[in-house]
Amino acid sequence: MVNAWIVATIVAVVGGAVGFFVVLRGSAFVAHAVPNGSFAGAAAASLIGVNTIIGLGVFSLGGALGIGLLGRRGRFDVATALTLVFMLGLGALFLSFSVEYAPEIYSLLFGEVLGISTNQLGPTVALALASLAALALLYRPLLLSCALPDSAQARGVGPFAIEAGFLALVALATTMTVPVVGTALIFSLMIGPPAAARAFTTRPWLAIVLSVAIALVVVWVAIALSYQTNWPVGFFVGTASAAAYASGRTWSFARRRRRAPREVPPGAPPGAPWLKPVNS
């Protein structure tokens, strides 16, 4: 049981941190496509008899790079969609070769936190550290390429290199988290908490910290409730992430409404009846 808490904490930290950039770059679809497509790798791995993580890793990296290459010029969302469905088609093919894998689909899709064994801890921690190291490395280029795209290029960091690096980072982060939360739900952690954090603050490092904090709350609540009710962890993660997102949006909305009446035209007496909220 302790293992579950440790791994879940790691997942929340990595998911919350990487998720900040996922939301910043508008890569929600990629964050969904890469882990979902990687599940075909898990099916292939179990066919050959290799460790599932290897299959997940290879396919998520392959998928991420495939998206990058296919989307290089032209519609990125189309590239993401087609790469995803192709990998899922492969998954369907591998599944048709052996029937015995079918029940495991469920835990791969939706997570099996409470079944983490001690010898999975080591690799998970190692991958987490690698992900955070990669994030630290990419931190400045990513921020720069979002805020000032041309400036990034002028400094010698090509946009495709940054994109490829970011995609690989997403692949790495999702590979290590998939066995815990499941492919279907890891991206909830990468979207909900960071989006909420960005509603509360615009400063990058503070937003990342906040995003990780919210993700931790989401995961801990999810595990606790799953342990109590025996319902799947993924259900609670999805719902709690949505709740976090909703609270972020509500906060933004309330802040805009609160600020608006103070937009007083110059020279106007306070409390004038024609004060209208600024349309935002």
Partner: protein, 279 residues
């Protein structure tokens, strides 16, 4: 010579004929709606509605109702929620889509779990997600045709305004078009189209028929009308060829072939020299 390509019994097998007919209807509807999906950059919404529809499908299994109604109810509801969150800019819109999808998946997880406790049907997951075109019942065809006509009718009704809103929202708003209403109606047509294709080739893979042929068509021509026709033809071709290959292969899934064909077509169209398309 035909015998070399086609396994015996292909043209006389009624499951194959049904799969081909239903598949063709679905491909035409998906291609038409898909052109607008690609233009609007809403592939994620299309994929998300398919996945969320799977939740409805599995709860329909629980309740003993036909999965198609569950799909539709669920995907239309999800489309409504996405519309209510109501962000117009692509980045924020994709995040909103992701949140709804995450919640929907969570719900699917719960329903499938309860399903397996009360009913012992673990095969439901696979069937709903990947589809089984050769196992359709004949009553599906009229249903699919009617719903497909409904989705196409909606698009036809909205054609010109939808085109303007999709290509140039600011201009459309300046002309007084109800941008949000049109967007909402488009989402409705999308939800219907996705439910249709999910029933035949599976929820997860309905995205392929929605996005692939349309994207390929838009690489070949800039005119939306021609793109819609091309998308329909490409989709029907992919479905029929996929069915043939699956039949010949004795057990490989149709979905795999259709998706691969769609991807190959798109890559091939990207490799063609640009005819002054611009980006």
């Amino acid at each position: 010579m035909l015998g070399a390509i086609v396994e015996p019994g292909f043209f006389t097998s009624s499951p194959v004929q049904l799969a081909a007919e239903v598949g063709a209807v679905v491909a035409i509807v998906a291609g038409c709606v898909g052109v607008f999906t690609v233009i609007r950059g809403q592939s994620f919404a299309g994929e998300a509605l398919g996945d969320i529809g799977a939740t409805g499908g599995s709860s329909a299994y629980l309740a003993g109702v036909g999965p198609l109604w569950g799909f539709m109810a669920m995907s239309v509801t999800a489309a409504a929620i996405m519309e209510l969150i109501g962000i117009q800019r692509p980045r924020g819109r994709d995040v909103a889509t992701g949140i709804v999808l995450g919640a929907g998946f969570g719900l699917a997880a719960l329903l499938l779990y309860l399903d397996s406790i009360y009913d012992n049907t673990t095969g439901a997951t696979v069937t709903i997600l990947f589809g089984s075109p050769f196992a359709l019942s004949p009553s599906v065809l009229p249903l699919v045709a009617v719903l497909g006509a409904l989705a196409l009718g909606l698009i036809a009704l909205l054609y010109r305004p939808l085109l303007l809103v999709s290509l140039s929202p600011e201009l459309a708003a300046a002309r007084g078009l109800p941008v949000r209403l049109i967007g909402a109606l488009y989402l409705l047509a999308l939800a219907l189209a996705v439910a249709l294709s999910a029933v035949t080739i599976g929820a997860i893979l309905s995205t392929a028929l929605l996005v692939g042929p349309a994207a390929t068509a838009l690489q070949l021509t800039r005119r939306p009308g021609r793109a819609i026709v091309a998308a329909g033809m490409l989709g029907v071709g992919a479905v029929w060829l996929g069915i043939l290959l699956a039949y010949d292969s004795h057990g490989w899934p149709v979905s795999f072939f259709v998706v691969t064909l769609v991807l190959i077509a798109y890559i091939a169209s990207r490799a063609l020299p640009s005819r002054g398309r611009g980006r």
